[in-house]
């Protein structure tokens, strides 16, 4: 069965998405798209657009997913940057003793004016609640709850 990249789900106090990807990397990109869709309604007026590279490393792929999304949240709220086009995304084992998996992603990010862009929702954090990345049929899937 064809799955969309993400679905919004109900949670009593907060909000969440169930994400699907044909690969782990695709899951990560779709999770980012879903999170941004929760925050911003429709196209945002942007100024300068540049290519960015994001590196993350974590003890497992679930932590890596939250780190990746948290990095995008930080760039949005504190640097006023929103993701545009996603380029490459590679997830590989890490050389580090304590971090077992790493991500390198390239994407375009655009500057937004915080006075003119009004996010629909303030996402405070990406929670780890029941977070588990699983293979279901031909999709990799995860459900992510965001604290709002």
């Amino acid at each position: 069965m064809q799955q969309p990249p993400y679905r919004f789900i109900d949670h009593t106090a907060d909000i969440g998405i169930t994400v699907y990807g044909e690969s782990l990397e695709q899951l990560f990109i779709n999770a980012a798209r879903g999170m941004v869709a929760l925050m911003i309604n429709g196209p945002a007026p942007v100024t300068r657009t540049r290519k960015h590279t994001i590196h993350c490393a974590a003890v497992d792929k679930e932590m890596l997913l939250t780190d990746w999304l948290q990095e995008l949240l930080y760039r949005f709220y504190d640097k006023h940057l929103i993701p545009g086009t996603y380029g490459t995304c590679t997830i590989t084992p890490s050389d580090n003793n304590t971090q077992t998996v790493q991500l390198v992603a390239t994407l375009s990010m655009s500057s937004v004016n915080p006075d003119t862009i009004k996010p629909v929702q303030e996402i405070k954090a990406v929670t780890h609640h029941n977070l588990s990345i699983e293979q279901k049929d031909r999709y990799v899937t995860a459900t992510i709850i965001f604290d709002v």
Binding site: F8, D10, H11, T12, A13, D14, I15, A58, V59, E62, M63, T66, D67, Q70, Y74, Y77, D78, T98, P114, K118, P119, V120, Q121, E122, K124, A125, V126, T127, H128, H129, N130, L131, I145, D147, V148
Partner: protein
């Protein structure tokens, strides 16, 4: 019996989840037959069981009647862990560290200015930054930030926000001494730098309220409240700084849980022994974030007072705006409690629960020694709020804890499907409640129907004896974050 296989009735307001399987202690939910089905249906009761599985927990894994599904701990959850054998968990305190509430009394009867609420709200809306991503009016230096993290509300007073008279009426006299600014990451400091003095969004608010019912005249008199009085309530927390601290330390704790071989029923319950380096670092960071939140509320209170004086053209003495109390409802505290007849130091995690110490407790200021600690319980937007007092029953049964609010029953998206923000604003206006907000979508999410009836929640706590009703307040003007 309750009709649920794993929840048994103790009495009309107490329900037990018997200890079984990996649970170290039983669970206890303060509720009624009316609200119990919701609690069980949305799996909040299952989260009470999960907390009971953590090492070193003592007594019961507790849930207040405003309990609802959270992540890790339920919202409305309380768990106490022995200092020597127990764990500390950022998930048991929450992302919005020291989210809390403060209540100010005034000398002014509401009816004296009720035709000027719109005017007051307009100016308050301009004076206090609110809404998604709100940034503050303050310019903090790095040295200022260290002082904020170390001395919290006391720093704010030293900068002219409020007065020294406020300090005894703030939990911990305005700051936690255990704060360690060195544990706060650079990113957390960056996030907090331009958010000090902001309300934020979600369920944060600033309300002008009217006291409509007095239940205990003696305590009300000592708290300084009277029937028909204008009071002001502020609800906010540690903003982006606190969220980042929690996130930073969940990462640490996930690794620590593996190292200390702690089995987690939910990753959000990641933890470390209280006495471990990780546990101590988190406690120091949490305390620093708490101080930030207390400074935040103190600053907002200062701006509210300035604005009220300016718009009403009234002297500070005639306004008489004084702090009743400031208390956190997402926090971890090292406290001494009697367990099985012996005193133990425990780390009490309150996640969506309020401390409620009884009369005579040494942590309370002199003025409240005969009343017990003021407990401020905000209702959902547009419904009542309550001022309560702490009790001996709370100290002996819930580690001195009680509810913190109404508790959600509907998800945000479900609320938005049922009602539009403009409709809510009109409905409230018809009930003489004015609302200012940046976000109609956010208003819909906070619709009263999305929450339990706060009267029910407060009644359960009162009837169970874990806090005592003092007075009820009705909102007249709301600034919703």
């Amino acid at each position: 019996m309750t009709g649920y296989t794993y929840v048994t009735k103790i009495d009309d307001f107490r329900f037990e989840i018997p200890r079984k399987g990996a649970m170290n202690v039983p669970g206890k939910i303060f509720a009624s037959e009316k609200i119990l089905p919701q609690i069980v249906h949305e799996q909040a009761a299952a989260q009470v069981q999960n907390v009971a599985m953590l090492p070193g927990i003592v007594g019961y894994s507790l849930a207040m009647p405003d309990i609802h599904w959270g992540y890790g701990f339920p919202i409305g959850g309380v768990g106490a862990f022995r200092e020597d054998t127990g764990v500390i968990s950022p998930g048991g305190i929450g992302y919005d560290i020291s989210c809390g509430v403060r209540l100010y009394r005034t000398h002014v009867p509401m009816k004296q200015y009720e035709n000027r609420i719109d005017e007051i709200l307009q100016l308050l809306f301009a004076a206090v930054p609110s809404g998604v991503g709100s940034t503050g009016r303050l310019k903090l230096s790095k040295k200022d930030m260290v002082n904020v993290l170390t001395t919290g509300a006391q720093w704010a007073v030293s900068q002219g926000y409020g007065t020294a008279e406020d300090i005894p009426c703030i939990e911990d006299k305005g700051y936690m001494k255990e704060a360690d600014p060195d544990t706060i990451s650079q990113r957390a400091r960056e996030r907090g730098l331009n958010q000090l003095g902001t309300l934020g969004s979600g369920n944060h608010f600033l309300e002008i309220q009217e006291v409509t019912d007095i239940y205990d005249e003696r305590i009300a008199s000592i708290f300084g409240v009277f029937h028909g009085q204008m009071v002001i309530m502020v609800h906010t927390g540690s903003r982006g700084l606190g969220y980042q601290v929690c996130d930073d330390f969940i990462r640490v704790m996930v690794e620590a849980s593996r190292r200390y071989q702690i089995k987690l029923p939910d990753r959000q319950l990641a933890c470390a022994p209280i006495r471990s380096p990780e546990g101590k670092r988190y406690f120091g960071a949490m305390a620093a974030a708490t101080n930030f939140a207390r400074a935040n509320r103190q600053i907002i209170g200062g701006w509210v007072q300035e604005t009220m004086i300016r718009v009403l053209k009234i002297s500070p003495k005639d306004l008489g705006m004084q702090l009743v109390y400031d208390v956190s409802h997402n926090i971890g505290k090292m406290e001494e409690h009697v367990i099985d007849g012996k005193k133990h130091t425990v780390c009490v995690h309150r996640k969506g629960a309020t401390r409620a110490f009884p009369p005579g407790h040494r942590e309370l200021p002199d003025v409240y020694q005969t009343t017990g600690q003021p407990v401020i319980v905000p209702g959902s937007m547009g419904t009542a709020s309550y001022l309560m007092a702490g009790t001996e029953q709370a100290l002996s049964e819930t580690f001195g804890s009680t509810c913190h609010g109404a508790g959600r029953v509907l998800s945000r998206s479900a609320a938005k499907r049922k009602v539009r923000g403009q409709e809510i604003k009109q409905q409230l206006h018809q009930r003489n409640i004015l609302v200012y907000t940046d976000s109609y979508s956010g208003l819909a999410e906070e619709a009263p129907m999305a929450y339990k009836d706060v009267d029910d929640v407060v009644d359960i706590c009162h009837q169970a004896g874990i806090s005592k009703k003092v007075c009820r307040m009705k909102p007249r003007g709301v600034i919703k974050g």
